[in-house]
Symmetry: C2
Subunit: 206 residues, 2 copies
DNA sequence: AAAAATTAATTAAACGTTTGTTTAATTCAA
DNA sequence: TTGAATTAAACAAACGTTTAATTAATTTTT
């Protein structure tokens, strides 16, 4: 792995757990095992490093749900199940990046970057919204508020995994419980969301 | 208003919008119109100011739902409606404190404070969880996952209001749309949540 | 009630660190 | 031999906090 990537992954880790302002370039350099000057040398500045990081990571998230929308062999409710599971898996696998994004979004700073982040997140959300709309149009779903239904799906996952301590207390677990490594929790969350979304969307006279 | 309170409300505002590490004591002093030294004088340190702030604000949130649990004249579903509306109103009225809390919770720092914050939030959540359990016990609700059902309620509200820009894009609104001052959005959110929770909790053969 | 003494509040300035970044010299690779 | 990569050192600026001096308020003494 070249030094540029070492810096990026060190920054990812530290920004994720200590926040942008809470992480110094010397922290990042030490974590990456490089000289602090290399950060300015490669990225220009700490802030541009953050921008590079978001750009770099965003590439992995491009249009994950796009092909799902046009799939003709799956029913809308089955598509939504896939959306839910993919989203859960993504956050379970790398919660740090997700924490970084939501923290940046909630700060009144770096507006240009916030806009870029919002665009990244929305790219997938709008695909999922279209799936719900498909179900409504075909008469399989009730005429729900598509935007807020998506909000509920994402919000449930995000809120549960926004902090380990909160998750533990919420679920009444001990200190030995690690939310992000619990396969049981993944399934429990997936199960809850799918059931709730079904009850919410499916017509009563089914 | 005495200077101690001026400092507290200035800190509340700035920590809320710029974050703890992103706000300097000089920023706070300027916003409050006091000398920077007054912060050390009254609170000891910047970190203790944050602790005082959480303690100060937490007093207003003490056991808001406690009396609701024991209320005999309301049905569980009606109680939940009240929980939803109170929670929505609280965040709409003062989103900054809520942002501060969730940001602090997601950082791997100040663990003692995180624990205190989690306890504050959980106090009300456990009351609401008991309401759902009442409904299950009385046979009015399905046997759902009470913890994750609460997570969905709180997560929906939190996610929608976690950032203005994300909210606008999610709802496809223009720049003139101010989520926190939109009475329409409050009602739309309340309506969506109540409907979804009803579909999720109420027995099919009702 | 007035004066004196004591405590509290407030200030500007300075403290030592840490911050992000740059420089200038050096090592490395092509 | 040229250009890129890497380094240690230095930079000014900003940071949280402390100091020492001054003003304001309160209490005690006369």
């Amino acid at each position: 792995m070249d030094k540029k990537e070492l810096i990026l992954s060190a920054a990812m880790k530290l920004f994720g757990i200590k926040g942008f302002e809470g992480t110094s370039v010397r922290d990042i350099a030490a974590e990456a095992g490089v000289n602090p000057a290399m950060i300015s040398y490669y990225f220009g500045s700490k802030e541009k490093l953050l921008e590079s990081l978001v750009e770099y990571k965003a590439a992995y998230m491009k249009g994950v749900f796009a092909e799902l929308v046009d799939n003709k062999s799956l029913k809308p409710i089955e598509k939504l199940d896939i959306v839910i599971d993919r989203y859960i898996n993504r956050i379970f696998e790398g919660p740090q990046f997700h924490h970084l994004l939501s923290r940046e979004l909630s700060l009144e700073r770096r507006y240009q970057m916030k806009d870029a982040i919002a665009e990244i997140l929305l790219r997938n959300i709008s695909s999922a919204k279209r799936i719900i709309q498909q179900g409504i149009d075909s008469g399989e779903f009730r005429e729900v508020d598509t935007e807020l239904t998506m909000t509920s799906i994402l919000g449930t996952i995000t809120y549960l995994l926004s902090s380990e301590i909160m998750c533990r207390k919420m679920l009444q677990k001990g200190k030995e419980f690690n939310p992000y490594q619990s396969k049981k929790l993944r399934e429990r969350l997936s199960d809850h969301l799918k059931k709730m979304i079904r009850a919410h969307l499916e017509l009563k006279d089914n």
